[in-house]
């Protein structure tokens, strides 16, 4: 549109730029600060934002190496960050795979097959998903304690139990995949049926290969969702070697033992890959956002 730009317009643009940069500075300050702190020697040195002296001691500790101070004292890594990262990745990968396979089949059922109470089930799923997990923690704890009495590898303090607990959160993903399935024309599947394919064959051989992109998206979403999950993990896992990153990270910042620099390195190390994945998946996440999901 062609609008005449006057002098006041130029002033306004300049003001907008200044305002935006100020806000960006405030927004990025914590992120930049943590990078600089991770490179600064000592655990509570308050120095300039751009470190005058670069030290890799925190990074060595975060990567699991010990570090020798100038006075000859050997500092051992305070926490097994890499083990926690591995735990997180292991749990997130397995549960995301399970979530994708479960929600894909369910979404196929909802999108293509006819049965009674379909819309009732779909709506109650949405309603159920609105209840935050954090509120049912007591029950979840009690349930897994009971399960653990019979199947030890699914009880408290096990990764199996945590993975199983995460499978419950499939409603959003079922909706996403269902929406995608509904955009694929049914003619192709009908042709396959005419050729004598069973329902499972049409699903597995015809529909699924066409839906690979959305499955990737759902996998990434589920992966990020489980990696940043804190409440359930904090209830089910208590022992240090078992923890996930989300639960373990807070141990760096105890009042009595304040490992600010070490935390900064561990945070950058573990946060950067997740952030990059998130930015890469941003396009799909944003389209999913408008349908009502909120990130924690």
């Amino acid at each position: 549109m062609a609008v005449v730009t006057g002098k006041s317009q130029r002033w306004r643009i300049a003001a907008a730029h200044v305002g935006l940069w100020l806000l960006i500075a405030v927004t990025l300050f914590p992120l930049l600060a943590v990078v600089s702190i991770s490179l600064r020697p000592g655990n509570f040195a308050t120095g300039s934002l751009i470190p005058t002296e670069i030290s890799l001691e925190h990074w060595r500790l975060a990567l699991g190496f010990s570090y020798t101070q100038a006075d000859g004292v050997v500092v051992q890594p305070p926490f097994p960050v890499l083990l926690w990262l591995w735990n997180s990745i292991k749990i997130a990968t397995i549960s995301s795979l399970l979530i994708v396979s479960i929600s894909t089949t369910a979404a196929y059922g909802f999108a293509r097959l006819r049965f009674r109470f379909k819309s009732t089930i779909l709506n109650s799923m949405l309603l159920l998903q609105m209840f935050p997990v954090a509120v049912a923690l007591v029950a979840i704890y009690a349930i897994f304690e009971a399960i653990g009495g019979f199947i030890p590898w699914l009880g408290i303090e096990t990764h199996g139990g945590l993975i199983v607990a995460y499978i419950g959160g499939v409603a959003m993903h079922i909706w996403t995949i269902k929406g995608y399935f509904e955009t694929i024309p049914t003619e192709i599947e009908e042709c396959a049926k005419v050729d004598g394919a069973t329902s499972w064959q049409t699903f597995y051989r015809v529909l699924l290969p066409m839906a690979v992109p959305i499955l990737m998206v759902v996998f990434v979403l589920a992966f990020i969702g489980t990696i940043i999950e804190y409440p359930i993990a904090s209830v089910l896992l208590r022992e240090e070697p078992n923890l996930t990153l989300a639960v373990g990270s807070k141990y760096y910042l105890y009042e009595q033992r304040y490992l600010w620099g070490d935390f900064a390195a561990a945070a950058v190390l573990s946060g950067l890959p997740i952030t990059l994945v998130f930015l890469a998946a941003q396009r799909w996440i944003v389209s999913g956002l408008t349908s009502g999901g909120v990130k924690g």
Binding site: M1, T5, Q9, I13, A16, L20, L23, I24, T27, L28, L31, I37, F44, T46, I102, S103, T105, A106, G109, L113, I121, L128, M130, F131, P132, V135, A136, V138, A139, A142, I143, A146, F150, A165, I167, G168, G169, V170, A171, I224, I228, Y230, L245, A246, S249, K250, Y252, W260, A264, G271, I274, T275, F278, L279, V286, L289, G292, V294, K295, G296
Partner: protein, 499 residues
């Protein structure tokens, strides 16, 4: 088929251990899955079953179970069922010092023999000897002792140190005397008869053998009690009706903190949504301004707080706000010469929480509003430009009215989400600083969910029942919000359908 058999075996195991309810549940689930995958009439359910089952078991069931726990006295004192609490008490035993024997361990080839000798004044003569034993690992079977009066030569007895080395094996020994009484390890020098403290009575009561006092199980309080109301530990789990709710709303010591926490929860969620909407919407409008350059760059940079995992950015803020070592106070100190105690002062702590949560929350609103503004037809702005409208008029007359309707249900979800934003409170302040002189610890920055978590998992007593009662209250609040939300989006859909 194998799966079905496995499930059946599991069910039986659970049933055998006395958990009939759980066994029934698993049996029903197993039968249902078998039916779904074998019957030809349930084609659709073959696809739905795993997903729907997962939601029922791990989302719906915990909700129902939470409500149920809210009506019980489930806590660390009342953890066990009545039978298991009784079983635990019946297992309690005391050493009978008058029937203790000194023991020595003698090598016998590769094995050892344990010799018991009577001790104390007026002890009966004659000891006992065990068959050759191998003192490695735990010894599960009872060892039959034989009467012995020193007939055969034995090696030198083990020294104290050698005994300590084999203590684990010795502790697992159960020595049976010819008169069938059982002796257990009772210290580095003696084996002694253990006598049970309690005896089961008809009707589930317990009698203390020492003085004959009978403790009746009380299904109202969940404890074994004597006539004077003295309680035994541990108690057991019973239904207590509305006692938890009565305590929550009736007991002034509970109600005070509960009401303040509730008010702060609403204020916190409301202000968070208000601030992030104000910033997010302004940014969305600004970044939609075509005269502005570098908009994509700005948008990406401003989106960053959303991309960083929440648990990391919250902890980063926790460090930055630290009173003595934090960068924020370093800057404030350098510029204004002040060092606010962000974590010790309730008002400052609340301010900090709102600052952090606005930082975390505005990109979400910004992304939402950007999408909504894009869908506004451009000719509306052209018309207003021809009419000579100023940007502010544009915003209040065109943009705001058009995006407010689709935005409302999303803002309600955001409110509901922050109402239960456990991660933020738990990682940033953990609810602290606490209120002084409350019975159960309660924090000034606690919101309802984090308060529930503290009652259930961190403070002494682990009062699951009370925590579940609060959770139930939260359920109803969330349900009301969700229904309001559904109504908003439905009325929107209907309007769409009408066009």
């Amino acid at each position: 088929m194998l799966v079905a058999l496995g499930l059946l075996w599991l069910t039986f195991g659970i049933y055998a251990s006395g958990q009939a309810l759980w066994a029934m549940l698993i049996l029903t689930m197993g039968a249902l899955s078998l039916y779904v995958y074998v019957s030809s009439r349930t084609l659709a359910w073959r696809y739905l079953f795993p997903g729907v089952m997962a939601m029922l078991v791990f989302v719906a069931f915990p909700l129902v179970y939470t409500i149920q726990i809210g009506f019980t006295n489930y806590s660390s004192n009342n953890l066990l069922s009545e039978e298991r609490a009784r079983g635990y008490l019946l297992e309690q035993a005391d050493v009978n010092e008058s029937r203790a024997f000194a023991f020595t361990v003698h090598p016998d080839g590769k094995n050892v023999r344990v010799v018991l000798a009577p001790q104390g004044e007026g002890a009966p003569a004659g000891g006992y000897i065990s068959p050759p034993l191998s003192l490695t690992g735990r010894i599960a079977t009872p060892v039959l002792m034989q009467a012995w009066a020193g007939e055969q030569e034995l090696g030198q007895p083990y020294t104290l140190r050698q005994i300590i080395e084999r203590r684990d094996a010795l502790m697992s020994l159960r020595l049976t005397l010819p008169n069938q009484s059982m002796l257990l390890y009772a210290g580095l020098h003696e084996f002694a008869a253990f006598e049970p403290l309690w005896q089961g009575q008809a009707g589930g009561a317990l009698k203390r053998l020492a003085d004959g006092v009978v403790y009746q199980p009380s299904r109202d309080t969940g404890y074994f009690e004597d006539a004077q109301g003295q309680r035994l530990q541990p108690g057991f789990k019973v239904g207590v009706g509305f006692a938890n709710y009565a305590r929550l709303f009736g007991d002034p010591d509970m109600r005070g903190p509960f009401v303040s926490i509730f008010i702060w929860t609403v204020v916190f969620a409301g202000l968070t949504v208000l601030f992030s909407t104000a910033i997010g919407m302004t940014l969305a409008v600004l970044l939609n301004w075509e005269a502005l350059k570098y908009r994509t760059l700005y948008r990406t940079l401003l989106f960053l707080p959303y991309a960083v995992p929440g648990f990391i950015s919250i902890l980063v803020f926790k460090g930055l706000f630290n009173q003595n070592f934090g960068e924020i106070n370093a800057i404030l100190d350098a510029v204004f010469g002040i060092k606010p105690a962000w974590f010790a002062d309730p008002t400052l702590a609340k301010t900090m929480i709102l600052i952090v949560n606005t930082w975390l929350g505005y990109p979400y609103i910004m992304v939402l509003c950007t999408g909504l503004i894009k869908s506004i037809p451009a000719d509306l702005y052209e018309a207003s430009a021809i009419a000579g409208a100023k940007p502010l008029t544009n915003f209040f007359r065109i943009t705001a009215p058009l995006i407010v309707k689709p935005l409302t249900p999303l803002l309600i979800s955001a409110f509901a989400f922050n109402f239960n934003n456990f991660v933020l409170i738990s990682l940033l302040t953990d609810g602290r600083p606490d209120y002084l002189n409350t019975k159960l610890p309660a924090g000034t920055t606690d919101i309802l969910v984090s308060y529930t978590y503290r009652i259930a998992f961190t403070d002494a007593g682990a009062n699951f029942g009370l925590a579940a009662a609060i959770s139930t209250v939260i359920f109803f609040l969330v349900a009301i919000l969700s229904l309001a939300n559904l109504k908003f989006s439905q009325s929107k859909d209907q309007r769409k359908g009408g066009h």
